[in-house]
């Protein structure tokens, strides 16, 4: 950008930067407009949905019109179910996710540091990783019964393997050069861990957390459909059984919105300079 404006100035010196200013305002206008585009897309879909439902070419029970969904939304908000279920889902995700992050990072660092242990467990991890956490539902119910703990267990499984795998890879990818510098400056084992290993893997861990949290939020809905009697997933399956498709849509929209918010929140972890260095390109 800087180079560009300098370029403009250089070639329009007789107009003393006039062309430069015009380019800048045009660019600003363009930016403001493109910022509104995502909202326009949402509005467009809403309008089309409304128009289609007005045309009355299908049974309104198979896809309720937006007006009914909005009504259902206010109903569910008023009787507190939506808030209570959202909190229940978020609670399960938070606990399962934190457990997965904690254990995934700890075991990941151990495996990444100790070559022999890593070789021992590597195949096992690669074997377990592709098994969908949903495949564990029968065992989760058998071991933990219907309730929070089986849902938390499933969420833990969904986030644990991505966290573990990313941490192992991140530790193994630390350039040897940094350890040589550490040795040169006479780092102790603790200092090597504190000043090299931990800061070097931090950006990869944040990225892995962002991905696993997304997966956890996906899995919680499925887990709640089967393993518990509350939460947004339960709201969906329960409303389907009552053929209240408007409630189903409300639950879906809420899941999408909360997913958007938590992704935005966790992406803030990528902003501090001691994390961002890895994402900077020269």
């Amino acid at each position: 950008m800087l180079g560009n404006s300098r370029f403009c100035k250089f070639f329009s010196f007789s107009q003393t930067g006039f062309a430069d200013d015009r380019v800048r305002t045009q660019r600003k206008k363009h930016k403001d407009f493109s910022r509104n585009l995502p909202i326009l897309v949402f509005l467009g879909i809403l309008v089309m949905w409304h128009l289609v439902s007005l045309a009355k070419i299908y049974d309104p029970n198979t896809l309720p019109p937006p007006s009914r969904v909005i009504k259902a939304f206010s109903e569910l908000l008023a009787n507190g179910i939506l808030v209570r279920y959202s909190v229940a889902s978020l609670f399960r995700v938070t606990i399962g996710f934190y457990l997965a992050v904690l254990l995934g990072i700890l075991i990941g660092i151990l495996l990444g540091t100790w070559q022999k242990v890593c070789l021992m467990f590597y195949s096992l991890i690669q074997f377990l990783r592709p098994i969908s956490p949903l495949a564990w539902i029968p065992f989760a119910l058998l071991w933990f019964g219907i309730g929070d703990s089986s849902a938390i267990f499933l969420i833990f499984l969904s986030s644990f393997f991505p966290m573990l795998f990313s941490t192992v890879v991140a530790v193994k990818n630390i350039p040897q050069l940094y350890f040589q510098i550490g040795a040169n400056f006479d780092f102790t084992r603790l200092e090597t861990f504190k000043f090299i290993v931990l800061p070097a893997i931090l950006p990869d861990i944040v990225t892995a957390m962002r991905i696993s949290l997304g997966v956890a939020w996906l899995v919680v809905v499925a887990a709640e459909m089967i393993a518990v009697k509350s939460g947004l997933g339960y709201l969906i399956i329960d409303s389907r059984n009552a053929l209240r498709m408007d409630y189903v849509i409300v639950a879906m929209v809420t899941i999408g919105l909360i997913g958007l918010v938590i992704d935005k929140a966790i992406s803030q972890l990528q902003r501090p300079a001691f994390v961002r260095w890895k994402f900077e390109r020269k």
């Binding site: 040169n184 006479d186 000043f195 800061p199 300079a273 260095w277 900077e280 020269k282």
Partner: protein, 280 residues
């Protein structure tokens, strides 16, 4: 001009003391990428052996600025890393101050070719890393400032390496090495990734710094002009497996004009010996 001549003379007086002894170092790498599958011979199944260094012996005196020069891939960097203790030689030993080297040492600092700063620390934190044991915070701060000033990086303390240019990163790394006040500094082609002008500037700064602190510097380069400009002594290695081909002492004062007098002769000889038949 006269003053620097006296300094060189003083330096020469110190030469009585041995600093680094490279005693009969040999090094072979095993090329594991091309392992023949059907060889029954145990030795060959390990992979092809590549001899890098062939019985290299050197004596380096205290306070000397030694340039190790050689063609590309001849094992200069390997030799330096062996001296620094990062690599164990196949045979032979390194003796510094009468003690055998078994690994990297905190008072012999290595300056890497590229990317030697910790990217997750600011310039200030990087430089402070070497002197983290200092208890007094104020003393630590002053020292970091002092060395940042020496390499002309004041105002960039809170910048991260990715925000700096190549030359600034290299200067920051040199500041980090200097802050430790090392006994010996190893430099592995530290200027090779930089543009021409920055390289000339840094050479000049390095010469001044060496005259000022008078510590031993081992400097690996493939650039003949750079070596002639900097070195008190030139060590030229042959192609692989490397031996010491020449061991020149240069007694010219700084700043040097490499296009006159004895230096020009040395330069011409070096170009010839490395297979280039004209000097630009």
């Amino acid at each position: 001009m006269k003053e620097s001549k006296i300094e060189i003379f003083d330096l020469k007086m110190k030469y009585g003391k041995d600093k680094v002894l490279v005693d009969d170092i040999s090094m072979e790498f095993i090329e594991r990428r091309e392992i023949p599958r059907d060889k029954k011979d145990e030795d060959k199944r390990q992979g092809e052996k590549v001899d890098v260094l062939d019985n290299v012996s050197l004596k380096i005196y205290d306070g000397e600025f030694v340039c190790i020069l050689g063609p590309s891939g001849c094992g200069k960097s390997t030799l330096l890393k062996i001296i620094a203790g990062f690599i164990r030689p196949t045979s032979g030993s390194i003796i510094i101050d009468g003690k055998e080297v078994n690994g990297p040492r905190p008072n012999n600092i290595f300056v890497f070719q590229e990317g030697g700063l910790f990217p997750w620390l600011t310039v200030y934190e990087n430089v402070a890393m070497g002197i983290r044991h200092l208890k007094n915070e104020e003393e630590k701060r002053l020292k970091v400032q002092e060395y940042l000033e020496m390499v002309d990086l004041i105002g960039f303390e809170n910048h991260y390496p990715h925000m700096l240019s190549g030359g600034m990163k290299q200067r920051a790394e040199i500041a980090r090495a200097l802050a430790v006040e090392p006994d010996i500094m190893y430099m592995d082609e530290p200027f090779s990734g930089l543009d021409f002008l920055t390289r000339l500037h840094l050479r000049e700064e390095l010469v001044n710094m060496h005259l000022y602190i008078q510590k031993t510097i081992l400097f690996v380069t493939h650039d003949i002009d750079e070596a002639i400009q900097l070195a008190d002594r030139l060590i030229v290695l042959t192609d692989r497996p490397s031996k010491v081909k020449m061991n020149y002492e240069i007694n010219e004062p700084h700043p040097r004009d490499i296009n006159t007098g004895e230096l020009q002769n040395i330069r011409q000889q070096l170009y010839l010996s490395m297979g280039v038949h004209y000097t630009l």
